[in-house]
Subunit: 421 residues, 2 copies
Amino acid sequence: MSIKIGLLGMGTVGTGVVQILTDPSGRHPLLQEIEIVRIGVRDATKPRSVGLDPQTFTTDLASIVNDPSIQIIVEVMGGLEPARELILQAIGNNKHIVTANKALLARHGEEIFELAKRHQVYVMLEASVGGGIPIVNVLKQFLGANRLTGILGIINGTTNYILSRMHQEGGNFSEILADAQRLGYAEADPTADIDGFDACDKIAILASIAFSERIPLSEVSREGIRHVSTTEIATASRLGYVIKLIARAQLVSQGIEIGVYPMLIPVEHPLAAIGGVTNAIAISGEPIGEVVFAGPGAGQGATASAVVADLINVCALLSSPGHPLLTCSHSGYAQVVAPRENKFYARFTTLDQPGVIGELGTIFGRYSVSLETVFQQNRSGDIAQVIVITHRVREIDFWQSVAKIKELPTLQEVGAILRVL
Amino acid sequence: MSIKIGLLGMGTVGTGVVQILTDPSGRHPLLQEIEIVRIGVRDATKPRSVGLDPQTFTTDLASIVNDPSIQIIVEVMGGLEPARELILQAIGNNKHIVTANKALLARHGEEIFELAKRHQVYVMLEASVGGGIPIVNVLKQFLGANRLTGILGIINGTTNYILSRMHQEGGNFSEILADAQRLGYAEADPTADIDGFDACDKIAILASIAFSERIPLSEVSREGIRHVSTTEIATASRLGYVIKLIARAQLVSQGIEIGVYPMLIPVEHPLAAIGGVTNAIAISGEPIGEVVFAGPGAGQGATASAVVADLINVCALLSSPGHPLLTCSHSGYAQVVAPRENKFYARFTTLDQPGVIGELGTIFGRYSVSLETVFQQNRSGDIAQVIVITHRVREIDFWQSVAKIKELPTLQEVGAILRVL
């Protein structure tokens, strides 16, 4: 069975999606049943890095959403119009939608989802929040046993990158923003990220799924990070906090409290350690307590992974019965191999004599086990502890060295051997 | 439509599942269609905390798996037999299975899944690994775009609890184990946890899903934590590491390297911060990079959440078309409320005069804003910075105080106001 899809847009995310679909081996077997029929672009003659028939590309986007052979539309063009119009048209033609368009969904979700209900098609939106983190589908499908009470997230990579660097370097906001723009971590017009609009779109989407109610975007509180100064960063650090742009939605007795603000986070909080462009989302509920999901919040591969996950899920439903994502799909046994390389920690109890470290080092060297750290501690009487951390070495070499070391007259005991990550 | 289920077992997890199912309001609407028909127990006369008809309970477990009205069997009795026999019988009767039984699946998965394939039923196993973390279903359904390359996890809560306490307190293994047993974090016979058997079962299950091949349990390397001494804990800390029991599976050119060992983890690694009974699992793949999932790895509520998630998923498939987990299920708008309470950080630039802190404190006090921390820093010339961190206070009280403070003749500027998590 082949499932025919059309793409709207061939920018960073679209290219990532096509790269996955045209190179399916080693990925989910359903991918091999997906056929890219048409891709809508601004310039159909532009050279592309992907190996597709040039005939696949068209500037006539309406022809894609009206093509009767296409079952699923992947919208990765972004922006409000014409994305909205094309998606509505596609739904009207009974096509399923996979989209990464958070701005569109946060503003026109009602119109899109109501039409989708009438036409009994799916609108999948995993890629709209959290990049590669499967947070949307986890909320939809795997936390349904719970009364969800709160969402707390770092869901804008650009601001997290800037704040992380301000903490690390003590640099000021405008300098680091300029550098982030130069490195491609921030847009030329950074307003959507820096002033919290992007995070507002995303928390509105997450909250609407978690709490099963629409969220009017205009009612989401919003504060960006422009006013977070080096003084606050330094003072927060001194007090045991880091400053992060936090998106938060909480169920309270009167309704839902929802907003985006820079907040001081205690350093021991799980979100405090989330640095750079990584995203993380903590979900609280009864009875589960708190679960935290972290991963790349943006980028071609991560976002494409989310788009394709949605595609696989719609394809799985189209090819039921016997849901291929929930059944055991394999039958063979794996080739299990012994660990071949590791980094090791070893503690040797030895006589405290000159030359002991040299003896150990010589034996390790003979077996090509290179050492990162060697030191002696806890000398007591004529006994010493020698601690060794190796570089990444072959397991067989390491264990042969240890066998030889055990024969040393100065060796009293191998105190411990542990692997190092 | 009502979907009829039977439970095998009514211990901690079974009770948690029944508590969720008998109190469905505020959870996923599909729960209201699930009807518990029979529960198999050892002693049907034992008083139960859940409000079910005593007739629901039976000691005749075979009668449950042979009951033609039952569509889904939830196996939460644990152990290899008679769980294996009952599950096979239920599958033979074309019933879907939801199970938390990692030991059974890791040993008899082939037999169970092959029979399930023949009878076209689902065997759902979310609760077998990672407690409330939806890792099994995420691997099955949402990472299929990727070529997965590695799994790295803390998947045994007991050992992580013991190692975390050894790091915090410097206590030795046997004392902390005894205390963990007293507190219910370790079993009377702790072998399955302490010696790594439980983690081996779980990593074998995860690897078989991630890499789509069966893993012979006998080929999973295994090392427990009995030999991790206070010396190693202290030395590791000094070198910038923490010791964790790590379950790891990696795709290498010759096959799959898979095992469980105590390992030194660099403190900056995302798994290093996972303390107590929390579980965390990092999945690596191309193109996604790395995603990390963390949450309660055990406990009644968390495990029941996973069991019920599986139940919801099977029910959703039984009640298709129009997959109720993937469509937009809500139509109303949420009641959005302004934030009512928060903890605040404020920095005031003031004249450096005696009594300034007193003035600020008096105003805050008048509006019932109680202060956690007040201090002055960076005096330069006749200007000082006063930093205030409040307790959790009403937003309206805080903002009114700030308005009053702005009127103080000594106040030069409100330098910054941020919320504190």
